[in-house]
C-alpha cells in the first residue's frame, strides 16, 4: 500500500455532508431570504414542497455520495474510528452544540414574541443547518491541521 498521505475516510464523509448541505440548503435559504415564498399561514404547501424537495435532494446526494465513497475506499471505510477520529468528532460536536443551543434560545424563546409561522420554522432550520455545518467544518479542519 502506498505511504502517500491520503484523506481519511471520515474527512471525506464530512466533506460530502458539508457540500450536500451547502448545495441544497444554500439555495433554499437564498429563496427564503429573497421572498420567493410569500408569507402565508401554516401549513403553506408551496413552502412545504420547497423544503421537502430540498431535503429529498440532500438525502439523494448523501446516499449516492456514500455509495461512491464506500466503493472507492473499501478498506478505509471498514476501519473503526480510532482515538484521533473520536477526539476530532468530540471537538466538532462540542462546538456545534453551542451553535445549536444559541440558535434554539433565539428561535424558541425570543422569536415567538416577534414572529410566527414559517419565519420561526425556517429560522430553526437555519440554526440546525448552521450547527451541522460547524460540526462538519470542524471535522475537516481537525483532520487538515493534523495532516502529514
Amino acid at each position: 500500500m502506498s505511504e502517500r498521505e491520503t484523506m481519511p475516510y471520515r474527512e471525506k464523509v464530512a466533506w460530502l455532508s458539508m457540500l450536500a448541505m451547502l448545495f441544497t440548503f444554500g439555495p433554499y435559504f437564498t429563496l427564503v431570504a429573497s421572498g420567493y415564498f410569500p408569507e402565508k399561514p401554516l401549513p403553506d404547501l408551496r413552502q412545504l414542497a420547497g423544503y421537502a424537495i430540498t431535503a429529498a435532494v440532500q438525502v439523494t446526494i448523501l446516499v449516492i455520495g456514500h455509495i461512491v465513497l464506500r466503493r472507492n475506499n473499501r478498506l478505509d471505510s471498514k476501519v473503526p474510528a480510532d482515538e484521533r477520529d473520536i477526539a476530532i468528532k468530540q471537538r466538532s460536536v462540542s462546538a456545534a452544540y453551542y451553535v445549536l443551543i444559541t440558535g434554539m434560545i433565539l428561535v424558541g424563546v425570543i422569536m415567538p414574541f416577534t414572529s410566527s409561522g414559517w419565519e420561526i420554522v425556517n429560522s430553526a432550520l437555519f440554526m440546525i443547518v448552521l450547527a451541522e455545518l460547524v460540526q462538519f467544518g470542524m471535522v475537516v479542519v481537525g483532520y487538515r491541521r493534523q495532516a502529514a
Partner: protein, 69 residues
C-alpha cells in the same frame, strides 16, 4: 512551557523490513492516517497508543518517543 514530542517511527519502520504505516496502524489499533500524523509530529498519541507502538518495535517508550524542549 514549550516543547514537542519527537519520534523515530519512520526509521523504526524502515528497520522492520519497511513495515507500512497501514501494517503498524493495524497492529496498534489506529488508522494509517493517524500513524502518518504521529510520524509527522502533527498528532500526539495517547499514552496507551504510544506504549503499543513501542511494544510493536520491542523497545522502551523513550527510544521511540522523545520530549524536546
Amino acid at each position: 512551557m514549550t516543547g514537542s514530542i519527537n519520534n523515530n517511527i519512520r526509521l523504526l519502520r524502515f528497520l522492520q523490513s519497511e513495515m507500512t504505516q497501514a501494517e503498524l496502524g493495524q497492529r496498534v489499533g489506529v488508522t494509517r492516517q493517524t500513524i502518518a500524523a504521529i510520524e509527522a509530529g502533527k498528532y500526539s498519541p495517547s499514552l496507551e497508543v504510544a506504549f503499543r507502538i513501542a511494544a510493536e518495535f520491542k523497545l522502551p517508550l523513550e527510544q521511540v518517543f522523545q520530549w524536546q524542549e
